[in-house]
Each structure stands twice: as structure tokens, then as C-alpha cells.
């Protein structure tokens, strides 16, 4: 790997204008010298490990005053516990707080800044990983939820969603949609879709703080396990849905004609078909919202409404590079980017297999504009 790394790095650096490098390195050096020069002139003090000696607190202070410059301790994970009962300063870990690293230099454009171009490579071989990356239970809470019977409680699941989803069977992969296992041997037409069974991750419908949890805790024996909604509404048509949209001759001549009329090569209008029904619109809305994860957004970004527009392919997949922010409101200007990023991730992720939209009405949904309003997702 060393070689590859070296090679890759050299390539990367080559892209940077040489002048920038020289200037950057020079400046960095200068700044770094200014900041750390002192630290390098003196030898780091040898590290004393856990010497417990009786010294007065004055001596302790004095000693600390002397040790301040270079911080010699690299082993930071497990500082020695102080001896109980010993009124003796512990000399193990460095006391001096003089910023150890001191300001690591933030050199903005010092790294070649253009994102490496990425050719869209072939999709990952359709073999879905067996490793569910996700599955570990919400273990983040280091325990000790006081005296509450876990069974009678709506657990504060890791995931908050508009509807509660029960914990899936253990061997079901977590995905953004519920999906039934498909029969692999059905037909050879099904190319990519040897679908393993998936389920959406367990969710709850609201944030339950420890305090609230306690509130509703043992009061009534009926402490109802809250939402027992049927977890998985099977999504019906994953397999057959591979509409191999071969345009009919008629269609193509329409397109040709239209192209001619417009003088462009752009493919345009077939008969638009009737407008989408409310149900059809809902399907798209539901499809996107399953992936609209605002859990990692700042409180500010959660105040930000973004309107995002994009194009769809005929198989109802969003065109990634067509996704753009039309407008934003609320929040601060800086939060719009994160709000947009989250919206874009939602559109792409849940659209990866194509949205559930009627193909015959393509022209009704060729262009989509979605308003993402996090008002309901804020902490109340």
C-alpha cells in the first residue's frame, strides 16, 4: 500500500500550482516555527510514571510551573488513577495545559482542492453485502436507565420516524424500505433483483428523554407499548418493476418530431397523460421522506426550509447532478447548505431503485420540485 499511496499522493500534489505549494509550505513553516519553535528547541522532559512522593503543594505548583513547555506524554488513554487517600500530587500525566499541539495550522487551500473526478463505475455487482453494517442495537447509552421496566416502555429507539417500526427479525437487513424476499428462480428476466429481505430500521415516533420516559413510566399498569402498527407493509412490486422502457416507434417518432419542432435534441413530450392522482403524489412523498434524515442537522438547519428541484429518468430515478437548491428560507444562510445536503441525500438514496411513479405519466414527473420543511421534525 505504501507505493500506491505514494503514487496517488504525488499525482494529487501535481495538480496544485507549484507557486501555491511553495508559498503554502513557506507560510506553514513560518507559522509552525512561530508556534512550535520553542517546543522543538528544548528536549521533552522524560516522562515520569506514577512516582508517588510526598511533596508540598508549593513544590507541586513549582514543579508544574517548570514542566509547562513540551508535553511529553503520548500515552493519553489511561491516565493513572490518583492514589486514594494520598494527598500527593500525581505526577503521571502532564499537568501543563499549555496547548500541546498549539494551534494546528489551518491552511485552507493547502490540499489540492478539486474533488477527484469520479467516473461512475459499474454498480456494485448487485450482490448485496451480507454484512448488515447497521444492525447493532442502540447501544449508545451507557446503561443505567433507572428502575424502568424496559418492556413496558416505548423505547427511545435510535431512530425517530413518522411512524413506528418494530424491531425487525434479527437476520433481516436494515434498509430504507420494507421489502419482501423475492424468489430468485422466478425468471431469468430478473437480472439484478435477487432481493434479500429487508426491513426498515426500528423506529419510534418521538424523542423520549430520560425525564419523559420516567414520567410515563410506572403509573398505569396499562403502560401501553405504544405503537403496535403492523411493521412491514410489503412493497409489492420490486421485481417486476424493471420496466424495460423500450420506447415504442410511435413514441420515438413523436420525439423526433418534437425535436425537430424545437430544433433541439432534447427528448420531449409524449402525451402528458392525466395529472398524478393524490395517491401517486403521496407515493413519491412517502418514498422520499423515508430517506430524509434530519438527525444529523444542526438546530439551525432544522429551521431551514429548502426547495429542491431535479430531473427524473424515465425509470423514475433522480438524475443526481440535476439536483439543485431552488431557494431556502428560515435558519441562517450557512445552514442552507446542510439542509440541502440532507435533502439531496434523501432524493438520491430512496430513488436508487426508482420511485413508485406511473410510467405513462412521465411528463408529469419528469421535473420534480420538493419543498423540504423540517418544522415537524424539530424538537418540541
Amino acid at each position: 500500500m505504501g507505493k500506491a499511496a505514494e503514487a496517488g499522493r504525488t499525482r494529487g500534489l501535481d495538480r496544485v500550482n507549484t507557486g501555491q505549494i511553495i508559498s503554502g509550505v513557506g507560510h506553514l513553516g513560518l507559522i509552525a516555527f512561530a508556534l512550535f519553535g520553542g517546543a522543538f528547541q528544548s528536549e521533552p522532559l522524560p516522562m515520569e510514571v506514577s512516582e508517588v512522593t510526598a511533596i508540598s503543594s508549593e513544590d507541586f505548583a513549582l514543579l508544574m510551573a517548570q514542566t509547562q513547555a513540551p508535553d511529553a506524554v503520548a500515552n493519553v488513554d489511561t491516565p493513572e488513577p490518583p492514589e486514594a487517600g494520598e494527598a500527593v500530587p500525581d505526577l503521571t500525566s502532564d499537568t501543563d495545559e499549555t496547548p500541546v499541539v498549539a494551534q494546528p495550522e489551518v491552511a485552507e487551500p493547502d490540499v489540492p482542492d478539486e474533488a477527484p473526478d469520479v467516473a461512475e463505475l459499474a454498480p456494485p455487482e448487485a450482490e448485496v453485502t451480507d454484512e448488515a453494517p447497521v444492525l447493532q442495537p442502540p447501544s449508545e447509552e451507557v446503561a443505567v436507565l433507572p428502575e424502568i421496566n424496559p418492556e413496558s416502555q416505548p423505547r427511545p429507539a435510535d431512530v425517530i420516524a413518522p411512524e413506528a417500526v418494530e424491531a425487525p427479525e434479527p437476520d433481516v437487513r436494515i434498509d430504507d424500505v420494507d421489502q419482501q424476499e423475492t424468489q430468485p428462480d422466478e425468471a431469468e428476466t430478473v437480472v439484478e433483483d435477487e432481493q434479500e429481505e429487508t426491513a426498515r430500521q426500528e423506529t419510534t415516533t418521538e424523542i423520549v428523554t430520560e425525564a419523559e420516559e420516567e414520567e410515563d413510566a410506572p403509573i398505569a399498569p396499562t403502560a401501553s407499548v405504544r405503537p403496535v402498527a403492523r411493521p412491514s407493509r410489503p412493497v409489492e412490486e420490486p421485481a417486476e418493476e424493471v420496466v424495460q422502457d423500450v420506447p415504442s416507434t410511435e413514441n420515438s417518432s413523436v420525439e423526433d418530431a418534437l425535436a425537430e419542432a424545437l430544433g433541439t435534441t432534447q427528448t420531449e413530450t409524449r402525451p402528458a397523460g392525466p395529472p398524478l392522482t393524490a395517491g401517486e403524489k403521496d407515493a413519491l412523498r412517502l418514498g422520499v421522506q423515508q430517506c430524509w434524515n434530519v438527525g444529523s442537522l444542526s438546530t439551525d438547519a432544522l429551521q431551514t426550509i429548502v426547495v429542491v428541484a431535479f430531473q427524473m429518468t424515465e425509470d423514475a430515478k433522480p438524475v443526481a447532478n440535476s439536483i439543485r437548491m431552488v431557494s431556502s428560507s428560515g435558519g441562517s444562510s450557512s445552514s442552507a447548505q446542510q439542509a440541502f445536503d440532507a435533502a439531496r441525500r434523501a432524493i438520491i438514496r430512496c430513488g436508487a431503485r426508482g420511485y413508485d411513479l406511473p410510467a405513462e405519466k412521465y411528463d408529469q414527473w419528469r421535473e420534480v420540485e420538493i419543498t423540504f420543511n423540517p418544522e415537524n421534525m424539530r424538537i418540541k
Binding site: A5, G8, R9, R11, L13, F40, F60, D71, P79, E80, P82, A84, A87, P89, S93, T95, E97, V101, E105, D110, V111, A115, P116, V118, E120, P123, P124, E131, P133, E141, V142, P146, I160, P162, I207, T209, E210, A211, E214, R285, V288, Q289, N293, V294, G295, S296, S298, A301, S334, R345, R349, Q364, W365, E367, V368, I370, F372, E375, N376, I379
Partner: protein, 441 residues
Amino acid sequence: MMKHVLTLLAAFLIGATPVAAQDSQPLKIIVDQGVIEPLPFAVPDFVAGSSASAEYARNIARVVSADLSGTGLFREIPSNAYISQITSFSSPVQFADWKAINAEALVTGFVNVDASGKLVVQFRVYDVFAGQEMSQGLQFVGTPDGWRRMAHKVADEVYKRITGEGAYFDSRVVFVSETGPKNQREKRLAIMDYDGANVSYLTDSSSIVLAPRFSPSGSQVLYTSYESGFPRINVLDVSNVARRALEGQDGTMSFAPRFAPDGRTVVYSLTRGGNTDLYTMDINTGASQRLTNAPSIETAPSFSPDGSQIVFESDRSGTPQLYVMSSGGGEATRISFGKGRYGTPVWSPRGDYIAFTKQSKGRFHIGVMRTNGSEERLLTASFLDEGPTWAPNGRVIMFTRETAGASGASSLWSVDITGRNLRQVATNTGASDPAWSPLQN
């Protein structure tokens, strides 16, 4: 022939603007429901520039990952799920491989020890599904023994880019380390990184120390010490642990100090003749000013970030409640009205919330409310939770939790202001009275 007709038809359709315009209208929908879950990310070990930097490359990636996961806003995808590895920092990322394991964010990095012995860390953050880098790559340079701080800086940058929230990992916490039985607790001041690493001690345990508080720059710590036999406020220089007692008068006790944003004014409680009121003092000149004058207890003052107001605790109504007044003193407005007793209010560094301790029905809670007292929300509940302190970005709160009984012990906990992600902060001894530093530079 057919084609011509169609051309005409098409031309007609286009000419008939109302219809055509309608057709080209995008489909508009509103999404106002979503999910709140940790964002899955991957931080493969950083690429090492040499064998000398291999360990740093690995350790820095681990700390970055721990920082992000620790927020509760992110969830790391374990490396055994990876389809492809990052072996070169500047080669194009195979987004498809990361999409396939549902990594929504990917952090790659390169670590090297340069000729002068300095540690150089470069990193990039990718939005995997968008197939784009989020903002630009960055580089940090520092001394190798400061690798942990550099890792925190990287994590801060990643966190900011994805969440839009301010940074907080590169920060420290001063607290009271506790050992010994409940009735003979030994207490000494200690300081550590926000994640519990790098602990060092600032005082010995020869006298009781309480409630340390950072100065706005993080270079000084105010705390209450019984060194004189009576509670007095000390100020301690973090860099060399030199300390001195603030001016005080015989026959009085002073405690509950906090700095004003100006870094030289200290607000605190002073008790004389059994009555506790609030005062400010200029830390350099020792000149003090009385802010309250009531027979009730006034304590636990905390400045608003702009320095114009002080929130504090008073039992003038009969039970301890929270009040806000101008930083020069004068009339105070009560802001807590729920059932129970309120204490230790702390103004958020963002200025939007006040965190507090609430005692109700024999339990203790950490909660937050708007600065006018509205939107009160309790985040925790236990036998004894108290003394909230804010992360520099105003998003996370750390506090003391003490367990009941003869073997009761104190520990530090943190919780997101949403009430999620409650977790214990690792400390080697019992620990109480945490105070979060500002972000280091």
C-alpha cells in the same frame, strides 16, 4: 407523412402556451416528515506517509470516529463491512463501494511526519450519495504528541460540514476528581480533554475544592476552595497551576464564581451574617460591587454571552427559582414557573437556552428552557443530577450524576439538548462539577 403531421401537432402544442407551460411545470410536492437517525459514516484508517506515521494514521482515524459517534448524530460503519479500502489519499473515491454499504459520509485522510518532525494531517469529507466532496480538503500541522488534538480538529471540521453545528471536540473539561467515602470525600481539581483523555491534576486534595469555571479564553479557572478553612474563591492559571485567592473579607464566605464574557469581571455569591447575595468583582483590582440585597439566598449566577444579563437562583419566593436581571443588578424577573425547585442556571454560549437543575418529586433533572423561561424541557432524571455545563457549541450539556446510598458516587454524563444520546463520560475516579472550556484555538 405521419411525421409531418406530428411536427405540426407538436408545434401547435408548443404554440398553445397555456397547455405546454402546464406540462413543463415541475411536479411539486412537500415533504414535511422525515426520520431522525444517526448518519452512517465511514472513516477508514488514514493513509500513512511512512512507517513512522502509521500508528498516528490509525489512531487519528479512531479518535475522529469516536468523536463523531459520540455525538449520537452519527453511526460508524465498521471496517469489516468495507468493500474497498482507501489506499491513496488523492485517488478518486469509488463512491459506488461506499454507497453499497450505505455510508452517507466518508472521511479520508493522510498522515505524515515531515522532515522537521512535525505531524501533518490532511483530510477530505465526501458526501457519498451526491458523489461529491463536502467543501475542501484541509491540512493541520502540529507536534506528534498533539496528535489527539489534531484528530479532534479534524472531527470538528467534519462535524461542522455535515451538521452545520459549531465545533466542540477540541475542548477541555475542568472538574472535581473525587475519591474516598461519601463522608470523607477527597476532592481535587482535574482537567481533561472533553472525551476524558489526557487527565491531569491542578490541585492536591488537602482541602475541599468545588465548582471550577473556565475563563472565556480557557486560560484561567475560578473555583471555591476551603484552603483557608472557609470557602473562598481562587483563580488558577491553567498553564502553570499558579493560584491565588481573590480578595475576601474576614467573616464572609464566597463561592459560586463565574467569569463575565469580558474575562476580568467575576460574579459570585458572598455570605455575610447568614445571608447570601450576589456581587461582582474586578479580578485585577479586587474592586467589588453588590448586585442584590435581599434576605433570601441569591446564588449560582451566570452571565448571558453578551454580558448584559445574569441568570441566577433565588429563594425569595419561598423556594429556589430562576431569575434574570441586568448585569449591573437591579430588578430581577422570575423565569421558572414549573412545579419544583430550580437551581444552577447556565446560559448557553449561543444565548438561546438556559440549562438548569430541577428538583421535583424527590428526583433531580437537567433541563433547558428559553431565556424567558418558555419551552422548558427536562432531559434527564435520576436520584441526583446537577450542575449543567455547555459544550462550546451550545448543543451538548455535561453534568454531575450522583448515585444514592452509602456507596454513592459521582460521575460525569453528557446529553444532547434534544434529550438524546445520554452517556457517561469516562473518568478514572469519581467526578463532579464539570465545566466545559471554550473551543481551543
